[in-house]
Amino acid sequence: MTATLDDKTAKPATEHAVRLAGVHKSFGQGARSVAALAGVDLDVAPGQFVCLLGASGCGKTTLLNLVAGLDKPTGGEIELNSSRPAVMFQEAALMPWLTAAANVELPLKLAGVSRSARKTRTGELLELVRLDGVGSKRPHELSGGMRQRVALARALASALHSSDESAARPSLLLMDEPFSALDAITRDVLQAELIRVWRSTGAAVVFVTHDVREAVRLGERVVLLSSRPGRVVQEWQAGDVSGVAEAALVDTINYRLREVISSHAAA
């Protein structure tokens, strides 16, 4: 795999930001239990952009919740070699009573960062997502795309605070279909935006989507998951394809995805 990292992120000592080994997750007890994930193996290198792709019921969201620590795996191991992962959901889920800036500041506050350091950091992050100047607005005064960018800045704040301590450890950004509720134009712009932010922060990204085109455009690696239960079916390198090759890759992955989906028709 080709690393497309900027040289400013010096090569970290560890070779993965997160490693999943034989991760199982089932819901419910005994005979009625349903397996959501059945033995998922996945390695994400520091600074790498991985897209998880799959139809409904492939356990994409479950997988992300496990890595985020919102849920515990039934079996297998998750080795997290980063500071607390930053998480972004499908909805921005901003606190409606806080301004945009206060939302970004919240994780810093929870981490006990001093007031002046919080202000500086919040300003930097809002600038990073090109929202300097709207910090004093409330979520309901922002467009969907702007809200999602505030959510991105907030997620980054939770992962990248106290830069001196966590600089040694690669950071990790988990995104659960963050653009799927946005209109097509905004989604397109935000995809470009995300790539820019990813390049400038050097964080590893695990991006869950059901959009093949999006996965190929964003990801260095595209990982296809099967459904019910979820496990890794196949994986492609998508780091430096463009033009005709990109279109061909989208077709290939789409073909394989449809095969996986149609295998459920018999059952």
């Binding site: 889920a93 009573w97 929870l110 090109r130 309901h140 922002l142 795309g145 935006e193």
Partner: protein, 292 residues
């Protein structure tokens, strides 16, 4: 062929932001205008009621001791205001109601948090808490009198039994209505249980809590009036309820109606001066100001 990248990405984004941002609510055209729109309709209605009353009185359908003239009631009210007695009645009742209401908040808030967040507590006392709301607090007056005698303690006991359940229920409802995504966000942002309560749970539940407080105040005031009407004693000082009861014992309808007017005035006044602005500020900050 023009390249996509030739267009400054930042400019595209700014353009998109400008196009997509929801238009700001028009700031109330004119304060005076808004005030007139808010005040005129209820005042007009009040005038209409008094006119109908005057007409009914003039037609003499009912004897004077059942339906006095509006002017007679006004005279009674005015002379009580002039000799300072009205202020005394209002002070006796209002200071008691406010004090009792504050105590009720102190009891009901932790109680509501417990019921909302601790499953066994909810299972055990949740139903009783909702049930108590449907029990008129007047029903507690005989018991309170037997327990505490005709003392201020009785007044406070009745008031608390009336208002604590509704404040606690309001908080529980407020917490139940928090979108489940918000506590999850709190968790991934690194909030512990206590920090999550303070930074996420309580602010998120604030609108429901405020609604509970508003109802709690109404219940406090109603309970207190009921207690004052039933349990009167020189020991208690003379509040609005006792003044109303005077009217009944003396068969003086002027006094009865004047007392009702004062009780309404205090209830509506506190709602308009305290709770309405508070609720409006909280809802407006969250973009929920449609109703107000």
């Amino acid at each position: 062929m023009p390249q996509l990248d030739d267009i400054d990405a930042a400019a595209v984004e700014r353009g998109l932001d400008a196009l997509d941002t929801p238009p700001g609510q028009e700031q109330g055209r004119n304060r005076l205008n808004r005030f007139v729109r808010a005040v005129l309709p209820p005042v007009a209605f009040l005038v209409l009621v008094i006119v109908v009353w005057q007409v009914l009185w003039a037609a003499a359908f009912w004897p004077e001791y059942q339906l006095p003239a509006p002017l007679a009631v006004w005279d009674e009210l005015w002379s009580r205001i002039n000799d300072g007695e009205a202020i005394g009645f209002i002070w006796t009742s209002v200071h008691r109601a406010v004090l009792g209401f504050l105590i009720a908040i102190l009891i009901a808030t932790p109680l509501g948090l417990l019921v909302a967040k601790v499953r066994p507590v909810r299972a055990a006392i949740g139903p009783f808490l909702s049930g108590l709301q449907s029990l008129p607090s007047v029903a507690w007056v005989p018991a309170a009198v037997l327990w505490f005698g005709v003392t201020p303690t009785t007044m406070y006991a009745v008031l608390l039994l009336g208002s604590v359940p509704s404040i606690a229920n309001g908080l529980v409802a407020g917490i139940d209505q928090i979108p489940p995504i918000l506590p999850r966000v709190g968790k991934v942002l690194g909030a512990g249980r206590l920090a999550a309560s303070w930074h996420i749970l309580l602010p998120a539940a604030l609108p429901g809590y405020l609604a509970g407080l508003k109802q709690g105040w109404a219940f406090s005031w109603r309970s207190l009036m009921a207690a004052e009407i039933i349990a009167t004693s020189p020991l208690l000082g003379k509040g609005l309820g006792a003044y109303l009861d005077d009217g009944r014992t003396l068969s003086n309808m002027d006094t009865v109606l004047a007392a009702i007017a004062l009780i309404l005035l205090v209830g509506v006044g506190i709602e308009l001066l305290v709770f309405r602005p508070l609720e409006r500020a909280v809802l407006r900050a969250r973009g929920l100001s449609g109703a107000l």
